[in-house]
């Protein structure tokens, strides 16, 4: 377990170190988000700051790696807490060297009176807008992920996997929203040259759509694989091949965006980019922050070129954060809040006996076991040690395939907050069920026992 945590920390450290390095990188006449004239790059003072920053970044990366090692000697729970604290610390301190040396560079710039560029106009290539109107989007590439997600919806309905059904519906919504956004992507005027603008905008549309189709296809494949393997376990090689394909698609999707950003950087290396005013950028705790009231765009490319960031001068930025918070609240409410509400109103899990069948019904699961199939029945208030194999566990309810030391492999249909269970051993396997009312679970158990008594 601890080796796994160290591996996770290693990946996190690599991502954070790379992100910080690429945010600060010298590109398009800027270093540490400060515009530098070409002649200044040969000055000793500039070279000194650049070298000092590089050394500070190296020291910070080494410190991140060394601080991972104590996890190997800690207890699993403490290691998890350490992981969270460590992650918070590297995020909060990650941009400290960049802030320090950026301040020094700005002071040097003011001292040497290097020319500062101040752009207060939005420049738009009108001919580019006219030509890009006729760009044909390749909608066909999104057909495959859409079909796979639709199939997942049907399969999950057939097998009553409501959580997977919700995931598939959500994925369709995300896929279509992403497509709508990409088809309505505004054109960017990168330079004064029309042909270069046209080439880059065509490339951007094509590459972004390609990357989105790969990422959504990988997700659709993953979800479809989980859905079908629920009831028909896949062979190791099929599972391995599927996972490999998913990983390749994700990697190719990320590489496509990376490749576009590299090409853009090369093509624009001799052009001044719009809004490169030093005052537009600040380095916050979590990275570069863009704030430019003269820029009407809400989403802009982040300095590393791989992601998007917000223009915090626009009121839309505030609403974007509210929207993110609302989505998190809705998702958490759906996963924990709604089941908890049902549980408190005794509507989460209901045990009944109908026509010689034991039935457990819930908005999240449903199971019927015929009495003639039951070989043994038992009641317990402690299931002992166990783990989930394939299913859902939200603490409030548990459903799917589990393994318990006491009962072996079994299927659970239980309201997790009520420690009163009926363990049914049947011809097809072991089932553990309960009602969201502990007394009723006991009552049903006694009734079945009476009915099955010779």
């Amino acid at each position: 377990m601890n080796y796994f945590i160290v591996a996770v920390m290693g990946i996190a450290a690599a991502v954070v170190a790379y992100q910080i390095r690429s945010d600060a990188k010298e590109r398009n006449g800027q270093f540490l988000l400060v515009s530098i004239p070409a002649y200044a790059k040969e000055l000793d003072d500039y070279k000194r700051i650049k070298a000092q920053y590089k050394r500070a970044w190296q020291r910070q990366t080494i410190a991140m790696i060394i601080s991972m090692l104590p996890v190997l000697f800690l207890d699993s729970l403490i290691a998890m807490i350490y992981l969270m604290l460590w992650f918070g610390a590297i995020i909060m301190t990650g941009y400290w060297p960049m802030r320090k040396y950026r301040k020094q560079l700005l002071a040097l710039k003011a001292e040497k009176q290097w020319p500062s560029q101040e752009t207060k106009y939005l420049q738009t290539d009108l001919r580019l807008t006219v030509k890009m109107q006729n760009y044909k989007d390749k909608t066909i590439r999104f057909l495959c992920p859409l079909c796979l997600n639709t199939m997942t919806v049907f399969v999950s309905v057939q097998y009553h996997h409501w959580l997977l059904f919700s995931c598939a519906v959500l994925m369709i919504v995300i896929l279509l929203s992403g497509c709508w956004w990409l088809f309505h992507l505004s054109n960017e005027t990168y330079s004064d040259e029309h042909e270069l603008n046209l080439l880059l905008n065509r490339l951007k549309r094509n590459q972004f759509q390609k990357a989105w189709s790969y990422l959504t296809l990988a997700d659709a494949l993953f979800l479809f694989g989980i859905t079908i393997s629920f009831d028909h376990p896949l062979s190791f090689w099929l599972l391995f091949g599927g996972m490999l394909l998913v990983m390749l698609l994700v990697a190719d999707g990320i590489y496509t965006i990376f490749h576009f950003q590299k090409t853009k950087e090369q093509m624009l290396s001799h052009h001044q980019t719009a809004f490169s005013d030093d005052q537009c950028w600040t380095v916050g705790w979590l990275g570069p922050v863009y704030n430019n009231p003269y820029d009407p765009r809400l989403f802009i490319s982040s300095p590393n070129g791989m992601q998007m960031t917000l223009n915090h001068a626009k009121p839309g930025a505030k609403w974007f954060y509210y929207g993110i918070a609302a989505v998190i609240i809705v998702i958490m409410g759906g996963i924990f809040g709604y089941p908890y509400y049902l549980d408190q109103n005794h509507a989460l899990s209901h045990l009944t006996i109908e026509n010689d069948h034991l039935c457990v019904t819930s908005p999240f699961y449903e199971k019927t076991i015929a009495f003639e199939e039951i070989t043994n029945i038992d009641w317990t208030d402690d299931l002992g040690n166990g783990q989930r194999l394939l299913g859902t566990d939200t603490i409030i309810y548990q459903t799917g395939k589990y393994h318990y030391d006491q009962y072996g492999d079994c299927e659970l249909y239980v309201a997790g907050l009520h420690k009163s269970y009926i363990v049914v051993s049947a011809n097809e396997g072991v089932y553990i069920v309960n009602d969201d009312d502990e007394a009723r679970t006991k009552e049903i158990y006694e009734e079945i026992e009476r009915m099955m008594a010779p």
Binding site: Y121, Q133, N187, Y294, P296
Partner: protein, 129 residues
């Protein structure tokens, strides 16, 4: 063919956009009969509301600089002698401002001449399509 908008100016965006399109026509960058983008596409690229671009197009159409039809969309098609009274009143105001601020007649006329030399508008026959 660049248009520049200042989002912090006191001049409304739709007026700035109208002025920029007229400047492009006068400088020859937008030729007679050239198509203009759709309201939706231009609004997206300028990051403004579609109503703003729509208002600009309506104003340019009313002033006789552009024309819109179902088949060809919006095109630069300045109608001669439409809105000339507007030019006269604007020029009269500018001349008054120049005189009040101390510019003499000769300086004003040479400035006008210099600005007119930068205008390369030329009416061409439309391609039949």
């Amino acid at each position: 063919m660049m248009i520049q908008l200042d989002f912090h100016s006191d001049i409304p965006i739709y007026v700035q956009l109208r002025n920029e399109i007229i400047r492009l026509i006068a400088s020859g960058q937008l030729a007679y009969g050239d198509p203009l983008p759709t309201v939706r596409a231009l609004a997206a690229d300028l990051h403004v509301n579609t109503m703003t671009v729509s208002k600009t197009y309506a104003l340019l159409k009313q002033e006789g600089f552009i024309t819109t039809d179902r088949r060809h969309g919006t095109r630069v098609l300045p109608a001669e002698s439409v809105g000339l009274e507007n030019v006269e009143s604007s020029l009269s105001l500018l001349a008054s401002e120049a005189v009040i601020k101390g510019m003499d007649k000769q300086a004003f006329l040479s400035l006008c001449e210099k600005l007119l030399d930068n205008i390369h508008y030329e009416k061409k026959p439309l391609e039949s399509n």
